[in-house]
């Protein structure tokens, strides 16, 4: 046997141990090195593939770094005005109740300008899944302070560190939303290790499954990094996240009914 035929024998279906899901497109991602968005996108794409719901899934992308999420997942997408994704998703799921509808939002989009929309979508218990990526900063506009920015954290608009006396306190959105009767599943996850991603994927699947039962919204917060905004290397970012974000935004399920 020549080396070539040996190689040909190896590359066949039975021997495949890993294959990128086709729901994740081949477009080159615009995210910075170390950014969590890519990992989360892939996790969502894999769950959509596993559940075989690609034809029935509608995503709503926000304004923020993930505004172009529609370039990466091969599903139908709506691109919302800043903060309004839950309103789009509300109408979409009400008008097409057989579909799986999700929003994908950052902390500026969801926790600041879109606070009313997410609060009321949760309160109404819409049958949608919300992915809330919290990296404690506005990434796309160049690293400004977000509602979730930690006390003392340096950003472009809190250059001397966030002063809570004048700028308010970092908001624990998941805890707030878990109090609403309309939320069914509220969890805070991360995606910095294979184990964390496995847990995240379980939560994503649960969220999508919940939408079938019309019993309230599933809210999945993912604590992530922003190497560019935090001005740290990808490795240092993960360390900073574990040291500073996790104590203030503890991981785990807040509500599962």
């Amino acid at each position: 046997m020549t080396a070539t035929t040996e190689l040909k024998n190896i590359i066949n279906e039975e021997n495949v141990v890993y294959k990128k899901t086709s729901v994740l497109l081949d477009n080159e991602m615009h995210y910075c090195p170390g950014c969590t968005h890519g990992v989360i996108h892939k996790a969502i794409a894999e769950v959509i593939d596993d559940m075989d719901i690609q034809e029935k899934t509608i995503g709503v992308s926000p304004v923020g770094c993930s505004v172009l999420a529609y370039n990466y997942l091969d599903i139908d997408w709506q691109q919302a005005a800043h903060g309004r994704a839950p309103a789009l998703a509300t109408a979409t799921s009400r008008l097409m109740p057989e579909k799986y509808v999700f929003t994908y939002q950052g902390d500026g989009d969801l926790a600041s300008i879109g606070c009313a929309e997410i609060m009321h979508a949760c309160n109404r218990g819409e049958s949608i899944v919300v992915f809330f990526v919290n990296n404690a900063i506005y990434g796309m506009t160049g690293g400004q302070m977000a509602p979730t920015t930690l006390e003392g954290q340096v950003t472009a608009t809190s250059p001397y560190g966030r002063d809570c006396q004048t700028t308010g306190f970092p908001m624990r959105i998941s805890e707030m939303l878990a109090m609403l009767p309309g939320t069914r599943f509220v969890t805070r996850e991360s995606a910095e290790t294979p184990g964390a991603v496995r847990k995240l994927k379980k939560a994503i699947r649960k969220g999508f499954e919940n939408t079938r039962e019309n019993k309230g919204i599933s809210f999945i917060e993912i604590v992530g990094t922003c190497s560019s905004g935090w001005k740290l290397s990808p490795v240092k970012s993960n360390e900073w996240m574990k040291e500073n974000m996790f104590p203030y935004y503890p991981l785990g399920t807040l509500k599962d009914e």
């Binding site: 690609q54 034809e55 029935k56 899934t57 509608i58 709503v60 505004v67 172009l68 529609y70 091969d74 599903i75 139908d76 997408w77 709506q78 691109q79 919302a80 005005a81 309004r84 309103a87 789009l88 998703a89 509300t90 109408a91 979409t92 009400r94 008008l95 097409m96 579909k99 009313a116 929309e117 609060m119 009321h120």
Partner: protein, 361 residues
């Protein structure tokens, strides 16, 4: 004879929506148009046609629900009054930018600010010149009767889907609150999923199937060159509307020496003013623009050889008069008569204004 009723303009908007197969209404209460959503809530169309009605947390949320619903290829609408329309401006420009069909109803009240709840026409600029950011236009229809409130709901949806552009019904507290005899439209079923895919499958987010690329409902293109090309496309669309969709009505124009130009409830007042003026021997007619965009420019120009003066009558400080003047281009005198802040001009005042401006009295 069809289904004849005595109904308020606002109630008719709701009834017409149900009957033309509207899929969803998303609104927020504001005087003087709350009857639209109230009527829908009483009618419970979800049991009858499956139409969805949602009271949103704000006008901002309501218009963005419209964006979501429109993205699905559904017939969706919202209604509000002036301050609420200002809040919806963001969503409206996104709809125009994403080329989404939708119906917005503005039952105008006096402004600026919180203003008054009484009728006005002071949102003309907002309706036809923009309102939100960017170079976009809405198809703007101005009903002058409760019957037209009925008729223009379906017409607005037809035009919105024909051009993939939001349409706006610009009315006011007079037409919204008054009752008139109205012949309601026949019931039409809502579109099925198959019909939506056949009609709008190239863009609607109905779920990506294996036989097509994914559909993306967006107004974003970071590439300026592409954004300019897209803007050219929009402008071509607006030119096509100007070419094909102008609607107007002429009353007593054949022998007119003078012309009123007025829309909506002002046009009704001008009709009475014509009766009064003609009794005095003043030959005056009315050109009533039904579409405010596209505006009946040619139709006004056709009158220029005939009339000695034009009076634009509006419940505003003088907004539409600018479009009349652009059409007339200095060829005959154009004056404005308006009452504002919620005051409705009387027919006698209008005749007086005509006399003062053009008859040297």
């Amino acid at each position: 004879m069809g289904d004849i009723r005595l109904m308020k303009g606002n109630e008719v908007i709701a009834e017409a929506a149900i009957r033309c197969g509207c899929d969803g209404y998303f609104g927020y209460p504001i005087t003087p148009q709350s009857e639209v959503m109230e009527t829908l809530m009483i009618r419970r169309p979800e049991l009858e046609t499956g139409m969805v009605v949602v009271q949103a947390e704000s006008e901002v949320a309501a218009i963005n629900m419209v964006y979501g619903g429109a993205s699905c290829g559904k017939k969706v609408m919202t209604s509000s009054s002036s301050p609420g329309i200002s809040l919806k401006a963001e969503g409206i420009t996104y709809l125009a930018g994403a080329e989404l069909p939708a119906l917005i109803v503005n039952v105008v009240r006096g402004g600026p600010g919180l203003g008054t709840i009484q009728p006005a026409q002071s949102d003309y600029f907002q309706a036809v010149k923009g309102g939100g950011h960017g170079d976009y236009k809405l198809i703007v229809l101005a009903p002058a009767s409760v019957q037209e409130m009925n008729d223009f709901v379906e017409l607005s949806f037809d035009l919105a889907f024909k051009y993939l552009n939001p349409a706006l019904i610009l009315t006011d507290g007079v037409i919204g609150q008054m009752m008139e005899k109205v012949e309601l439209s026949e019931f039409k079923p809502r579109w099925t999923e198959e019909e939506i895919i056949a009609k709008s499958g190239t863009w609607a987010t109905t779920g990506k199937t294996a036989d097509r690329e994914r559909n993306i409902s967006t107004s974003l293109d970071l590439d300026s060159a592409k954004q300019e090309i897209f803007n050219h496309k929009l402008q071509a669309k607006y030119r096509a509307m100007q070419e094909n969709e102008v609607r107007f009505e002429k009353i007593n124009c054949d022998d007119a020496d003078y012309l009123f130009v007025a829309y909506g409830s002002s046009a009704r007042i001008c009709q009475k003013a014509i009766e009064i003026a003609r009794k005095k021997g003043i030959k005056v007619g009315l050109l009533r623009p039904i579409t405010l965009f596209p505006y009946p420019i040619k139709q006004i120009q056709e009158m220029l050889g005939q009339v000695k003066g034009i009076l634009s009558v509006e419940m505003s400080a003088g907004q539409m008069v600018e479009d009349v003047r652009l059409a007339v281009n200095g060829k005959v005198p154009v004056e404005h008569y308006g009452r504002y802040g919620g005051i409705i001009p009387t027919p006698d005042e209008v005749v007086e204004a005509l006399e003062q401006n053009f008859l040297g009295e």
